[in-house]
Symmetry: C2
C-alpha cells in the first residue's frame, strides 16, 4: 500500500463525542445561545477534528509550496517565471507578507520547493523536494505525468508528517508559483463544471487583453484534455501544478493525523477540490480562511461546501489569508475554554430561565 | 465652551501626507499592487488617523459601557433587567466573552456604569459614572432629558480622555444593557429612515411573538416622538440609552485625540449614527469591525458608509466583534512596516517592470 493509499485509508470521521461535549459547554457559557455565531461552530469543528473539547493551538505552521508552470509561457501572468524563485528567496529572507503574518501569529513558515524551474541554493529553511523543473504547458500536452502528480501529493504528505512528528497543533496552506491561477482556474472549471470565463480572474493584476487570453488558454486546456473529475489524479496531472499536488498532500496528511488545516485562497481551494475528490471526508478537516478576490475561488468554495471566515479582497496567496484567520480559531477555542458558565459566574438562574424561555418561544 | 463643544471643534481631517506616504510604501512592497486588499486600505486609514505611516498599536483598550433601559418593561428582551448588573459583575470577574478576547488581544477592559438600574458594589476595575438608574420607557415619554443625553456623551468623552492620558494607541467600543437592541432599532430607524420591521431583530434570541411586540414598541416610540435627525442630541434623549450616549462620547473623544476606534456591532453602530450626525468627520476615525446578525446593523453601517471587516454572525455585543478585529489592524500596520520592498529583497526589477507593465495594461 502506498503512503497515499495508507493516508486515505486512515481518515476517519470527526469525533462526535467531543463535538457534543463542545456544544453542551457552549450552551452553559454566560451568553445567549448561539450569540458567538460562527466561532461556536468553529469550536465544535475543532473539537471534532482533534478529539479534544478545547484543544491546544499553540504549535502552528504554514506550509508554502512553490512550483513553476509551463503554461506561464502563454503570457497569462503579469510576472515573468523568474519571480517564483525570487519570491522563494524573499520567504527565506523573512521579508514577504507571509513571514510578517506568521511572526504575528506565532507560526513557523515552511517553504517547500515542489517544482521550481530554477536551481535554488540550499538553505536551512528550505525543504527541497523538487518533483520536476516546473510543469509542462497544458495547452500542448499534460502538465505532468500521472507518476509526477502522485509524487507531488506524496511530497505534501511527507512534509506534513515531518512537521507533525515534531509537534503541530494547527496548520495553514500557502502557495507560490507564477501561472498558478491559470492552472487553478482549469482545475476549478474541471471539478465544478463552471465555464472558464466565470472562474478565471486577473491573478497578479493583468489587463483585459491578457485576461481574455487567459480564458482562452484555460478553455483550450479543458477542450484538449477532456478530463474526468472522477479521476482526480488524472485531472491534477493534466491541468494542475506541482505545488497544487503538494498542497493536496498536506491537506490529506493533516486530516489523517487529525490536525486542523486552514486553507488559503484560490490555489489552496483548487488543491482542496483535488483531495476532496480523492476522499470526501477530508472536507471535514478543512477550514476555509477567506474568500479571495479571484472569482473562481467562490466557485471552488461552493464546490467544497465551505464558508470562508474572512472576505478582505486579498489575492496574494502565500498562505496570507489562512494565517490571518488563525486568531479567530484561537478565539473560538479560548472562549470555550475560558468563559465563565452560568454556575461559575453566579449569574442568576434568571439568565438560565430566560434562555430556556427564549428557547421555548422559538420552538 | 462645553467639553463636548471643545471636542467637536478640535476634530480635524485625516493626515493626507501620512496617507500618501503609506500608499507609496504599499506600492514598493514585494507583492502585486493591491493584493493585500482591505488591509492596504486599513493601513492608509490608520496612517491618516494617527499621522504616522506605521503607528504603534501596542496599548489597546475596550470600553464596555453599561446601562439599563426603561423600555425593557415592555417585554422586548429574553432577559430580565437584572442581567445587566449580573453581566457587569461577570466583566469585573473576568469571565465574560469580552474578557477572554481582550486577554488574547492584549487589551484592557474598561467597564463603565453609565446608568445601570442597580447599586453596583465599588470595584477597582469599574468606572462609576451613573447618569441615572436606567432610562425611562420611551413608549411613555422621552427616555431621558436633553441634559442627561449631554451628560452621557460627556461620560464617554471623559473616560476616553482619561485612558488617552495614560497612553492609548487603539480602542474598541462595547456595550451591555438589557433592552438596548430596542433602543438601537429606534435610533437606526430615526437616522436612516428605514421602517422599524427592517431594523428590528431578535436581540438576545426572542421568538416570533416577542419580535412582533418589539417592532410595535419601536414603531410606537417613533410615532410618539417624531424626532428630527438634524437634532441628534434630541434623538438620543428621546429614544436612546445612557450607554449609547457614552459610546458616542468615546468615539468623539477618540477622534478628537486621533486615536483609531474600532466599533463593535449594532449598539455601537447606533451610537456612531448619533456622533456622525453631530460631526460627520468623526466617521473617518471609525473602523467597523463586523456585521452583526442583527438586521438593523447593516442599515446602520450603510448609513455610516462603513464596510465591516468581519461577518461571523456574532450578536453578543460587549465589544467582542471589535476586539476580534484588532489582529487585522495590527496585521495591516505590521505588513506595511515589516515587508521587504523590491529594493530590500533584491527581487529583480523584472518584478517592478512587470508591475509597471501591468499598470500600463490596465490604464
Amino acid at each position: 500500500m502506498s503512503r497515499l493509499d495508507a493516508a486515505l485509508a486512515s481518515i476517519g470521521g470527526l469525533d462526535q463525542d467531543a463535538m457534543a461535549a463542545a456544544r453542551a459547554r457552549q450552551d452553559r457559557l454566560t451568553k445567549p445561545r448561539g450569540a458567538l455565531g460562527r466561532l461556536e461552530e468553529l469550536s465544535v469543528q475543532l473539537a471534532g477534528i482533534t478529539g479534544r473539547v478545547t484543544p491546544s493551538l499553540e504549535r502552528k505552521a504554514v506550509v508554502v509550496m512553490a512550483a513553476d508552470h509551463g503554461v506561464a509561457q502563454q503570457g497569462i501572468s503579469a510576472y515573468p517565471q523568474e519571480v517564483t524563485a525570487q519570491m522563494v528567496a524573499n520567504f527565506l529572507g523573512g521579508g514577504a507578507a507571509i513571514n510578517v503574518l506568521a511572526r504575528q501569529a506565532g507560526a513557523r513558515v515552511v517553504v517547500v520547493d515542489a517544482g521550481v524551474a530554477a536551481d535554488l541554493p540550499s538553505h536551512p529553511l528550505l525543504v527541497s523536494r523538487k518533483v520536476a523543473r516546473g510543469t509542462a504547458d497544458f495547452t500542448l500536452g499534460p502538465a505532468m505525468s500521472r507518476q509526477e502528480a502522485h509524487q507531488s501529493i506524496q511530497v505534501g504528505l511527507e512534509v506534513v508528517e515531518d512537521l507533525i512528528s515534531q509537534g503541530l497543533d494547527l496548520m495553514a496552506t500557502g502557495d507560490m508559483g507564477i501561472g498558478n491561477t491559470t492552472a487553478s482556474s482549469a482545475l476549478v472549471a474541471a471539478f465544478t463544471g463552471q465555464p472558464p470565463a466565470a472562474v478565471t480572474g486577473r491573478g497578479t493584476g493583468i489587463g483585459q487583453a491578457a485576461w481574455e487570453r487567459k480564458v482562452e488558454v484555460v478553455s483550450h486546456g479543458l477542450a484538449r484534455h477532456k478530463v474526468d473529475p472522477g479521476d482526480p489524479i488524472d485531472v491534477l496531472a493534466r491541468l494542475g501544478g506541482l505545488e497544487i499536488g503538494g498542497l493536496a498532500g498536506v491537506m490529506l496528511g493533516a486530516a489523517a493525523h487529525r490536525v486542523p488545516v486552514v486553507i488559503d485562497g484560490f490555489i489552496s481551494g483548487a488543491a482542496a477540490l483535488v483531495v476532496v475528490a480523492l476522499c470526501p471526508r477530508v472536507k471535514e478537516y478543512l477550514i476555509a480562511s477567506h474568500r479571495s478576490a479571484e472569482p473562481g475561488h467562490a466557485a471552488a468554495l461552493q464546490g467544497l461546501g465551505l464558508k470562508p471566515l474572512l472576505d478582505l479582497d486579498l489575492r496574494l496567496g502565500e498562505g496570507t489569508g489562512a494565517v490571518l484567520a488563525f486568531p479567530l480559531l484561537e478565539a473560538a477555542v479560548r472562549l470555550l475554554a475560558e468563559m465563565a458558565t452560568f454556575a461559575d459566574a453566579g449569574v442568576s438562574t434568571a439568565l438560565d430561565d430566560a434562555l430556556s424561555l427564549s428557547k421555548g418561544e422559538e420552538g
